[in-house]
Symmetry: C2
Subunit: 168 residues, 2 copies
Amino acid sequence: MDKFALTKLSYGMYAIGTKDAQNRFCGCIANSLMQITAEPATVALSINHDNYTNQCIKDTKEFSVCVLGEKTNPLIIGTFGFRSAKDIDKFANVNHKTAGDLPVCTDSCAYLLCKLISTTETSTHTIFIASVEDCEILSDDTPMTYAYYHNIIKGNSPKSAPTYITQS
Amino acid sequence: MDKFALTKLSYGMYAIGTKDAQNRFCGCIANSLMQITAEPATVALSINHDNYTNQCIKDTKEFSVCVLGEKTNPLIIGTFGFRSAKDIDKFANVNHKTAGDLPVCTDSCAYLLCKLISTTETSTHTIFIASVEDCEILSDDTPMTYAYYHNIIKGNSPKSAPTYITQS
């Protein structure tokens, strides 16, 4: 078994936005997101139990998905992917707007507004299944793939990522 | 709501292999597949209820995932994506081997052998959650993304795809 075979799976890069119990905007970076049905449009998203955003989505039952592009400022990934929203306001230094009542990074290709339908628990991650209530294209930038993030931007993944591989 | 925003989500292209009740190899093309946990490695896969492969995975509780590459013969996509395994032997004209007891297309970047853990039903698709029992890299070809398939190969999606959009 060569676990690096799993690095051959393709993903996009997404900034997830939601709100916490104090009604503060919060969020994180995700790559494990996919559409699961076309009509009505639904998506599945995998987020680690340890991520603050996980509990916030369970509480508010809604989240936004911003599709990061190749020209998106990589600062967003640093802020959203490697810090906890418990400690900092992740949207403070990121261009954003409010859509519905959710935060949306405007420096992205497109956004989806999602309403939670159900959750499935695994040992380390929750799979959130959600309906797409609204979605809009924001730019014609090329969506950033996880491969682009690793190979071109030379980015890393935090240990909480579904696709994290221990470097031996 | 601009449904084309959903086309900004990124995916790979995968040939799924399994067996039917007559122990015949069968399978289909999928793009909605993602890793959901790192340790142990598990994946989620969305397949339409109408796909023959759907019932076969429910019956056999196992499937293979072959990661198609940019150099993979597009004939595989035509055979696996737009025909039904009820009618034809999809592996007859495709280079393959048996791994475990599952069929694996050898003209691909890597393969995973997966064992079904659970299913979640939606209105049109089943989400299969499965453990990765084995995985190997087969070539250093670049994994084909769904965007590459659409933009470079100029491929289409069947109506049963989770990401199908009605062209108006």
